[in-house]
Structures are given as C-alpha cells and as structure tokens.
Amino acid sequence: MCGGRHGSPVPDLTSKLRVLMNSTLFVLASLDGLSYAALVFLVSVGLSLIFGVLRVVNVAHGSLYAFGAYLAATLSLLVTPISPWLTYPALLVASLVIGIVAGGLIERLLLSRVYGREEVLQLLITFAVFMIMDNLQRMIWGVQPIYAAEPLKLLPNVSIFGVSYTSYQVIVLPVVAVLALFGLRYFLRRTLMGSVILAVTEDREAATAIGINAQRVYLITFIIGATLAALGGALASPTTSLVPGMGTEMIVLSFAVAATAGLGQIEGTAITALAIGMARAFVIYLQPEFEVLVPYLIMVAVLLVRPEGLFGATKLRKI
C-alpha cells in the first residue's frame, strides 16, 4: 500500500543486517540505544525497588514520571531568565519535590492502608492514582505541548562518524543513570538505611523485632522509587515535548523492563534496560515497524522461560 517496502521483509532484513554489522551504523544505533536505556533504567529501577520492598506494583509510576517532567519543565522555564545553568538544579529539585510530595502522599494516604490486603486491591489503588494524576496533570499543565530544552542547549554537540549527537543525550543521561545505579548500590549495601531496607525486605517482622520502623522504611523506599521515576521524567523533559498521556506508555515499558529483569533486581534492571534500549534502536534501523513490539516480545520470551525474570529467584512454600 505504501512504498512497496513491506512485501518481503526476510531477504530485505538480511541485507540490512549486513549493512548494520559492516558499518558505523552499529555504533550509531548503540549510542541511540544508550540514551534511551538510561531513561528507561531510571524509571524501571524505581518501580523495581518499590516492588522489591513493598511488594506493590505501582501503576502510578508513569504518572510520577510525567509529573517529574512537567514540573522540571515549569521550573526550567522559570529559572532560565535568571541563568540557564540553573535549569540543571531545577531538574533535580523537580524530581525531589515530586518524589517527596507526591510519592509521600501516595504512600502515606493510600498504600499504607492496603498493605497486607489482596494484591489486586493494591494494584488497583495505584491504578486509581494513575487516573487521578493523569487528570490533574491536564488540569495543571493543560494540553498544549510544553518544551523546555534549555539544559540540552547549554551543552555542545559531539560528532561521531560525522553524525552529530547532543552531549546531553550521549553523555549526561548515561552518566546520570550510571551514577544512579552505583548510588543505589552504595546506598543499599553500605549505609544503615540501606541495610534497614534490605532487612525489612527480607523479613518485615524480624526487622521490627530489632527495632526497625518498617512503616518508615516503606515510606522512604516509596519516596526513593518515586523520585527515580520523577528524575527520569525531569531528565527526559529537555529532549521531548511534554504532552498529556506521556506517562501511560512509560508505565508498561518500565513494567516490561522490571519484570524481564526480575522484580527487585537493581543490576538486572540496568542490564535489561540496556538490552531493550539497544534492541529497540537496532530494530528502528532494521525493521522499524516492530519497534513498539520489542520490549513486550522480549518480556514474553523471558518470562516464559524464566518466570521469575532473568535475575530473580523462586521460593518454595512451606507446608
């Protein structure tokens, strides 16, 4: 119907594959995959962390991502006249504000009332939050696309194989993601709060019995997870138009990444995000029609073989 390119994808694909392997396109595609993976990782790891500790799948996670993006853009536009460099702290402030205020409210007011209740209720209460936040976002920021690219414009472009990339996307985003990965590792493995979170995750009652306030741990964990989602949004805001519904896709995508990795697996999430990011970029080069399918196909394939995810572990019920 259009262009006749869709007739026989198979021979077409092999020739394209050869082109990809033999050329610089491989590097280019990898770079594109990297920046995408960085954002996806930030959001997914927040989701994974929340599930790992609270055992709640946070459907509102994508909304936190969107709120992070919108607030970051608003603040950026606000501070740009003062000094464009202030936009960077603005991104951080926006994520913290959303993480602490929205995340804190969701956990305290809603989730804390349904712990121990049926899984479907926990899931649905975050679904309700998703609907509400989606609506609030429209009420607060309206429906016109918002764009605040100041942070990205401040940095020079870099040229790789004659193709120009913004250093924001190929340097800043991956660096932040790596920092987040190692920061999170350090936090969980080396700090008291991290130990406390791990203890509550493994055994809430035994942890309480040594004086740990599990409620507080849940709150803090949710805030960290929410902040990571908002940070993902804030970092995405300079690169994309903010439009209603931007969080809806992100939710499923981050589900796919987190579930493929195994829920609660931090390093696994990083590897999976990278794999899905790369796969997506390659597919855009090879067979762009299948771009949307990639994460879900990977997820289905992985879960069918390893239901607990690539890096997860199973448990046997005691009888």
Binding site: M1, H6, F51, V57, V59, L110, R113, V114, R117, E118, E119, V120, L121, L123, L124, I125, F127, A128, V129, F130, M131, I132, D134, N135, L136, R138, M139, T248, I251, V252, F255, A256, A259, L263, E289, F290, V292, L293, Y296, L297, M299, V300, L303, L304, P307, E308, R317, I319
Partner: protein, 317 residues
Amino acid sequence: MAGRSPALAWTLAAVVVAAGVIPILIPSMATLVVLILAKGIVVLGIIILLQAGQVSFGHAMFFAAGAYTAGFWGKYLGVGDLVAYLVVGTVVATILGLLVGLFVVRYREIFFGMLNLAFSMVLWSLLEKMFHLTNGADGMRVPRPTVFGMVFSPENFQYVLLYLTLAIAIAATFAVQRFLESPTGNMLRAIKSNETRLEYLGVSARRILLIGYVVSAALGGIGGVLVAVAQQIATPEFAYWTKSGEFVFIAILGGVGNAMGAFAGSAVFELVRFYASAQLANSWQLILGVVLIAIILFAPDGLIGLWKRQRAARDES
C-alpha cells in the same frame, strides 16, 4: 455465592426490567445500556479469574479479539450476521484464550498479571502496526450486521441489539453463577486459598485455572463483539492495558463476590464516565479515580457488598 437469595433475585429482576425499559423512554440510552451490559459480560470473566486470586491486566486482548473478528468480517467478507459475529468472535477469543492460557496458567499473582499484560500489549502493537490489515489506530469499521438474516433499520437495530445483549447478559450471569458453584468453580476458588492441597487431591491447578481462563476469554470475546457492533468500530485501544485496567476496576467497583457485581460496577462506571465527560468535560478520570479509592478503602466488597451491608444494617434496626 449468594445467587439464590430472594432479595438478589428481585434486584436482578428490577435491573433487567430497568435495562429493558429505560432505553424505550430515553432512546439514546439504548446504546449506553448495551455497552454497560457488554462490558459487564467481560467483567464476569475477570470475576471468574479473581475467584482463583488471579488478576489479569491483559484481558482486553480477548475483548479486542472479539471486536476485531467483527471488524475483519466487515472488511473482508462484507456485512455479516450478528449471530455469526458472536459465534465466530467467541470461538476466536476462546482459541486465543486457550493458546495464551496454556502459557500463563503456569504463573501466579503478579507474574500472571504481567504476562497477560505483555501478551495484550503484543496484540495491541500488532493491531496498531499491521496498518494494512487492521487500518492501524483508526480501527476497523464494523458495518451494521443483519440479525438472524433480517435487516433492521438503525432505530430498530439498537433495540434488537439491546435485547439480544440483555438476553446474553442474563444467560452469561446464570452460566457463570452455575460455573462458580460447580466442582470446577469451587476448585478455582480453592486455587486462591490453597493450591498445594489441590495438587494433593490429584487435581491439576493449572488445568482448573486454564478452564477458568478459557471461559473468561470467551466472555471477553462476546463482550468485544457486542461493543464493536454497538459502536460500529473496533480500535487497537480495545487491547490497550488501560482497557484491561478498566475491566479489573469495574470488577472491584461492583464487588467480586457475585456475578451481579459485574453489571453494577459496569453501570456505575459507564454512567459516571458518560455524564462526567458530558457535564464536567475534563474531570471524569479524576472522579472515577476517587470513586475507586473510596470503594477500596471503605467498601472492600464493592457496590454489591455495600448494598448488602446496608440491608443487613437496616434489617437489624
């Protein structure tokens, strides 16, 4: 299951009468009532799975399978018959349910939900991407079918569709109620409380769940056909995860303990959305979200539970 109490039977009768009569007084309600009933039929399927403690966040795929059966029929075979749509749509959804079910019944809880989600998103991507076959995001037109070979005018058709849907809804409700009371239905509930013991009775929990899954997929297909015919269109949105979320939402809203909950929830959901999107253009999601939270926090058994509780309180005083 409380399907036998006289009060509920009377309510059922009242609802049936209401669903049948209101649209005659207010013609524009006819399609809305069809949508309410059709979605209620889908939600019956969700309720079946919830008996086993499993929540599918991808059930919209069966809904879409039914809807697209009608869509493909219209595009490739021309105007068909509603009965044929229903039969074929149900068969397609059932087969899809069996195929997907063979995989997903090995999983429980969040993994069950996730895998369903993934499968439905694959279907959604395909419907959206296979533009040449499916017309992409704009969806496929479903021309008004004949019914038992008879051609109806638009005005009459909406009533034919309404009463047919009502009949199917009643039949489905009784069938589901029956199913849940059957040994298999009870085993389904047993999966929720103690799957290990079920295995120790020599029963394959996976097989039981698969039966429930296929039944619920079939119901999804029926609902999909009806909605597509009522709206004269099938779009990829039908398979999107938010649609699955809606079905689960409706199930919890109505209350999962009883098949009637599906229709109570569906009615409230659609009416709120319908009137809110008409009167308060921009806040229907907000309103639905708040209603849902209120139900979860204060009326965990849903609308039906709320109603029962109120009755009990009144009977005591």
